[in-house]
């Protein structure tokens, strides 16, 4: 049924449509204009083959009527009338529809504003024109009661008697005195009523005025009343003051930070710091790779249209489009970051002990190093905060469960923390500026202590009974020194940790400086660490190697004594020296300042000069600092040049102390530092070129050390570092080796090159050659055979046997792991057996370091082959037993290189080249018209010009039609008004004629 109905309806519709269409289609043939076609093209549909001029004209006229005519009508009228009534212009709406629509809109508007859950007040209830809500506020205290106190005045109308008399009094008849007429009576009545109203009004205004006056006066009185009240209350409140209340108030009224600059928590600060370091490290890695890395995996940019190898485009973009702050392409580094992040996550999940182990392995994996260190630090900080919150054993138990090794140290830490914290608190209360920084420092310092202690526990877990918490620096130092003796890996690791703790010490010391005598009490406990400790450690090592009988207690005592001494020294220096210094204007001035001071004093002086002349203080300070940097370099230079045998350690000490300041100055003015150092290096190189076979003096060598401190040595190419490396390799290849100082200097440079290339793992043939030469020198040669070596060294003759130990030295005490060359070696010329052995061991140690650095190279075995041969030839019969063992161990290590599997070099397979797909070449077809051959741009321009011309023509035509239309309108108006006039004139004439006719008729009738 439904279907049928539908069908029916559809049918009806279609028929209706058809009817419409047929109606439209039936065009008058005369109305159609057919555009003639010159050539018929098959299959082309021409839209413009026929036109309906009539229809088109009507359309155009209609359009003009709606637009142009409208505009014409309102031409000189400034205000417009906009009809916003709904449906007013819509002709299809009936009047009823319009009304309905308007009503609906009104309702809608009312609805829209309403709260949908409010069912009650559909409409606002009003009273006297005010909404009830407004009235309920009682803003105006005047109530009706005041106004209408008496009955009769309540309504403000005439009183009852009067009205009853006047209206209903029985009329005139009942009244005796009818002297007044009714009219008078009514008038009297009106006047009466008016008068009463006016009176009422007046009274009301008066009361209002009085109320206002009273209000204002009351307000004036108010404070006095309040004050008296308070005075009564005050003593009462005073007794009530309580810590809790104060705290509460403080909390309540504390200035609240806006969300944007919220204080960062320690974790966040640490994290930021870590991230910063990570990005810097990533940058460094990128620079280390130089263009090599880029060339490796980033192919050149290709456009998207390029079809050569379309399938890799996305990959490249992802990497190539990341840029660092300095515009360096960061693609690789970013990747690295990701990896780091991953590492981090892993680390977090892994036990702490493991992360420590990994940090031990860091020597070989510099990328992860910083990451792990930072990670360890954060962990430790976390730990620290924990201990702060709950300074009892609960936390430690937790750690115990984590790591058995941590057990002891953590115990110690907590104790230590409590002690230091107490001190710190005291300190804080006394010192006025108890800032957060200080706390941080202390915390950091303790945290580094934490980082140290596990190792000590690890290594000496078996034999350390020292669990007391007296003052753990002593025990630590002791343990450390033990470590140094026993195990080298731990030594290096320890160094790492120490270096991390070094960063904190100066800050700590700064704090100490500001405080008063209390800090001096604190001092022995608030361990100054690292730098002094380190150097002391070394001496201890050295001494211990020589004088092993020195008992542990004595050693610790020595350390403490040294530490205290140093501390006092610094303190004394700080107190004794004046606080401000002018920047020196010449090198002489600087030298006058520094001349007779020891290293620590010099350091303090320089520090103060820098502080007094900080860049931010004055514009000219930049220049002063630049000069200061140059002078300091010169000062160091001269110290080194003048260094005699006795003095040499002192010179190094001075350099040691000045390093941080040089670093600061470099960071303040990098460009200046670069040019300064470059110039000095050039000067040194020039003097070296003059005496090519002679080893340069210490001042040159120390410059290399300085370079490694100030500039990143791992960069692929660096304006300062690369020349330094070139220079060093030149020294090593050219200079003749004849004396103790020559050998020492050579080894010094070798060590420096090792330091330079530690991160980048670069290969420097000259160093290997030099080490080979030194080992060659210390190898006793068989008389028949000549063992070859590389030229600065001699294959035969006395110089080739300089380092051979002839006499039996097996009794000599030398520790092959911690063997240290001495500063004095750099100056002396005589060679003794002790030196021979030390040199040999150092050379072999260096070889092993270089081996770990270069073992990944394919050609590693050929590189070390001659050294291996020399070492295996050496019987070492005169060397001490431990040295022998050490060398054999290293030799064994070197021999593993031989077993390395070599793979043939192959080039990367190139991707098959895709066929080039060209765009179809479209040729213009001859179409009868002659096309001028022209360039693409010109053709484009021509096309545009043509189009423009046509448009202009069309526009002109339109304008013409517009004017015609307007003219037509005007003429129509004119005609219409003329016709009106004529009609009116005719009418008037007609009227006049009629009148005249009538007049004539009257005249005639007369």
């Amino acid at each position: 049924m439904v279907k049928v109905k539908n069908k029916k309806r559809n049918l009806a519709e279609t028929t209706a449509k058809k009817r419409d269409q047929s109606k439209k289609k039936s065009l008058n043939a005369f109305e159609v204009h057919i555009n003639k076609e010159k050539h018929k093209v098959l299959g082309r549909k021409n839209k413009a083959d026929r036109g309906l001029p009539g229809v088109a004209r009507a359309k155009a006229i209609n359009k003009r009527k709606n637009t142009l005519l409208h505009e014409y009508k309102v031409k000189d009228k400034s205000n417009t009338f906009v009809d916003r009534r709904i449906g007013e212009k819509n002709s299809s709406m009936t009047q009823e529809d319009k009304v309905m629509a308007r009503f609906a809109a009104e309702k809608m508007k009312a609805h829209k504003k309403k709260n949908i859950f409010n069912l009650n007040d559909e409409e606002l209830l009003t009273h006297r024109g005010q909404t009830l809500a407004e009235i309920e506020k009682y803003d105006d205290p005047r109530s009706d009661d005041d106004e209408y106190s008496d009955e009769e005045n309540k309504t403000g109308k005439l009183d009852k008697d009067f009205v009853s008399e006047a209206h209903f009094g029985g009329g005139l008849l009942s009244k005796s005195d009818s002297s007044m007429s009714r009219k008078d009576l009514i008038e009297q009545l009106i006047a009466e009523s008016k008068k009463r109203k006016a009176e009422k009004q007046k009274v009301r205004e008066q009361t209002l005025d009085l109320t206002d006056k009273l209000d204002s006066e009351w307000k004036d009185l108010l404070p006095i009343v309040n004050a008296s009240k308070k005075r009564v209350e005050e003593p009462y409140e005073k007794t009530k003051v309580d810590d809790y209340d104060i705290a509460l108030r403080e909390l309540k009224f504390e200035a609240r930070g806006t969300p944007s600059d919220r204080l960062k928590s320690e974790e966040e600060i640490a994290k930021e710091e870590k991230e910063k370091l990570e990005t810097l490290e990533a940058d460094r890695l990128a620079r280390m790779k130089g263009s090599a890395g880029n060339a490796d995996n980033a192919s050149k940019h290709k456009s998207a249209d390029d079809l050569d190898d379309g399938f890799v485009v996305e990959d490249i973009n992802e990497e190539a489009l990341t840029y660092g702050e300095d515009g360096v392409v960061n693609g690789i580094s970013k990747k690295k970051d990701d990896e780091n992040l991953e590492d981090n996550n892993e680390n977090k999940s892994v036990e702490e002990s493991e992360s420590r182990e990994s940090s031990e392995d860091e020597n070989t994996m510099p990328e992860d190093l910083i990451n792990d260190l930072a990670h360890v630090q954060t962990l430790e900080e976390k730990l620290k905060t924990d201990t702060e919150l709950v300074p009892n054993n609960g936390n430690q138990i937790q750690h115990k469960s984590k790591d058995p090794y941590d057990n002891i140290p953590v115990l110690k830490i907590s104790d230590d923390n409590e002690v230091t914290k107490a001190k710190v608190n005291k300190h804080q209360r006394i010192s006025d500026d108890a800032d957060l920084l200080k706390k941080n420092d202390n915390r950091a310092a303790t945290s580094t202590k934490i980082s140290k202690s596990p190792i000590t526990a690890e290594s000496s877990g078996n034999g350390v009974e020292d669990k007391s918490s007296e003052s753990d620096i002593e025990s630590e130092a002791e343990e450390n020194s033990d470590d140094n003796d026993s195990d080298e890996d731990n030594l290096s690791d320890l160094k790492m940790d120490e270096s991390s703790s070094e960063e904190d010490t100066p800050l700590l010391m700064k704090n100490v400086k500001f405080s008063t005598n209390v800090t001096q009490k604190v001092m022995p406990y608030s361990k100054p660490t690292s730098t002094p400790l380190k150097s002391i450690l070394k001496t201890v090592n050295n001494e211990s190697s020589k004088v092993e009988k020195l008992s542990a207690e004595e050693r610790t005592a020595l350390i403490i004594a040294d530490l205290l001494k140093r501390k006092e020294m610094m303190e004394k220096a700080r107190e004794e020296l004046p606080y401000t210094y002018a920047a020196p204007e010449s090198i002489e001035e600087l030298q006058k300042l520094l001349q007779h001071q020891n290293a620590d004093y010099q350091s303090v002086i320089v520090e103060r000069i820098i502080k007094c002349n900080h860049q931010s203080l004055a514009e000219s300070n930049k220049e002063k600092l630049a000069k200061l940097f140059a002078y300091l370099l010169q000062h160091v230079n001269e110290c080194m040049m003048n260094a005699e045998d006795r003095d040499i350690g002192n010179s190094f000490q001075i350099f040691d102390r000045l390093c941080p300041h040089l670093y600061d100055l470099t960071h303040a003015l990098p460009g200046n530092a670069k040019t300064c150092i470059q110039e000095i290096m050039k000067e040194k190189h020039d003097t070296f070129e003059l005496h090519q076979k002679k080893y340069p003096d210490l001042d040159t060598l120390i410059l290399f050390k300085l370079v490694s401190l100030l500039f990143p040595t791992s960069d692929y190419r660096h304006p300062v570092v690369t020349p330094a490396i070139v220079f060093m390799s030149q020294i090593l290849t050219r200079c003749r080796v004849r004396s103790r100082s020559d050998i020492s200097k050579g080894l010094f440079i070798c060590t420096l090159v090792l330091e330079y290339t530690l991160l980048s793992k670069r290969f420097s043939p000259s160093v290997i050659n030099f080490l080979r030469g030194v080992i060659h020198m210390s190898t006793p040669k068989p008389s028949v055979q000549v063992i070859k070596t590389i030229p600065p060294f001699k294959c035969i003759g006395e110089l080739s046997n300089l380092l051979v130990v002839d006499t039996d030295q097996t009794k000599i005490k030398i520790n092959p792991e911690s063997n240290l060359m001495l500063a004095t070696d750099l100056n002396e010329n005589e060679i003794d057996d002790n030196f021979r052995i030390r040199t040999f061991v150092t050379a072999v140690n260096l070889v092993s370091e270089f081996k770990t650095q270069l073992e990944e190279l394919d050609a590693a075995y050929p590189i070390f082959e001659p050294i291996i041969k020399l070492l295996s030839m050496n019987k070492m019969s005169n060397y001490p037993e431990n040295v022998k063992q050490r060398v054999r161990c290293i030799l064994k290590d070197l021999n593993t290189l031989k077993n390395k599997k070599l793979e043939y070099i192959t080039r990367e397979k190139k991707k098959p080249k895709a066929l080039r797909l060209y765009e179809p070449r479209i040729e213009t077809v001859y179409d009868g018209r002659r096309h001028k051959p022209m360039s693409k741009e010109k053709a484009e321009r021509e096309k545009l010009l043509h189009k423009y011309k046509r448009e202009v023509k069309g526009a002109i035509r339109e304008v013409r039609r517009d004017t015609a239309f307007l003219a037509k309108v005007q003429i129509k108006q004119q005609i219409k008004s003329d016709q009106d006039r004529k009609r009116k004139v005719k009418e008037i004439f007609g009227d006049a004629a009629l009148q005249q006719g009538e007049l004539n008729k009257i005249k005639r009738s007369k």
Partner: protein, 529 residues
Amino acid sequence: MAVPGVCLPQKNTSRVLRQKAEEFLASRKYANNLVDIIGQWEESNTSCILTLEMIFIEVLKRGNMYQEQSISLTISGKFKYLIVRTKKEPSPESRYISWLRNCYEEVWGKLLQSIEGCRPAIQLQALSTALKLMAEEGKMPLEPTDNLGYYFPLHRLKPILMKLLSPDNENTNLIARFQEIAAYPDALYFTWKSLPALTPKKQPNDTYISNLLELIDKMPLPKDGHGEKDEEWKLLCGPQQEEGNNFVSWDQFGTRKALNKVWACVMHWELGVQVHKKLLVVLLERVIHHLDKPILLTDFLMDSLDIDGPIGMLALQGVFLLVTKHNLDYPNIFTKLYSMFEPEIFHTKYKARLFYLSDLFLSSTHLPEALVAAFAKRLARLTLVAPPEDILIILLFVGNLLLRHPGLKRMIDHPEGGEVKGSSGDDPFLMEERDPLLSNALMTSLWEIRALQWHTMPGVAAAARFIRDPLPSVEYDMAAALERTGGHIFERELKSKVKEIMLTFERPTSMALPKGERLLQYWQLTTIH
């Protein structure tokens, strides 16, 4: 030379001397001034020599010493003078002339003496004065000559040459000065002419040989068929007017003969190391093209070849010349060359020559691949011990070898890849093997060059990357690299411009690096207070 302190008096004396000379030249009244000037020889050498030079050039120009001669049999001036004195009644005029000549001879004697043993500056001055006087004498002879128009004072040249070829001093500077007159064909010709007579048959000492070689090295010898009639050549001693010039035109044959004669003597001498080297250099660069029978050198070169180092290398070049130009057959030449590539070469002055030579030797594309591969591999091995500037040369060289011999591509792009087969997995190349063909070089890859990509020097590391990229279509140009020294690299690195100076980001508190400190691990530098 004038030391600043004595400058003033010397200036004074030179002024006095000049004044005296002018007086002397102005009038005969002051004839004795000449004696005074000569008398001051010892005190102020340079100015005295200069003054005398001025005087005698003027005198020669004026022809004041010229003597009409009835007896023309005499050869030397001195004899003539004696004869003249005995034969004729000396007029005052002739007495003056003879006195003047006497002085002239005395000055010559002193000049020659000065050339021999004085301070270098005076030596040079004396030599140049002698040369000038000789030239002047050639233009204005003291006596009428039989050869009208041209006269060369051979008797002056010979003593000069003898002084130059002194067996006592190395006269490099003097010979360099003497070289100036070698631009004049007549002087050159007569020098060559007189050389054979000055070359002793028996063994002279090394200094003499070295001087002689230096002289031969400096005296140019025009190529055959060239320079015979060169219009632009000016004569040292030719008379001023051109038409009278009938100097026997350049005698190429004669000169060559003289050279051959000299060399025949030289070949028989025994030589020290330095002189041997020098001799080979001179031989190769100057002499060998002019020898009549270079084949005769074979024995000499073969002996030299057995000496290690630069001598062997130079000899090798000679042998190579003989092989290529004179049909000598010497099959071991490549083995010899191969054995020269030892680490020591980087410290010799001749390494550039060696590289140049071996580039030349191996330029043929028809050499066996195994041989060239051995060279490439050995060179690559050497880069592991070479200084950076040499590594750059070697890399270019190896690159060229790879270019010339496409078969060597397997050393940088092995067709199969994979691990090296063999017992130990070690590099199959035999560094100790003397024969390049047996060194297994084709079975290895150039791992050394890959290792160089990690060289500390960025330039080297970049250059070593060539094995990764497709080889270029033209050979690398080694010439520029051969000239480079370590100093250049240093300076270039200093000049390299960067936008930003990178700094370390961890503040040290002492000499020690915040991380990765190594120096203080091995060195105890500071003392404790």
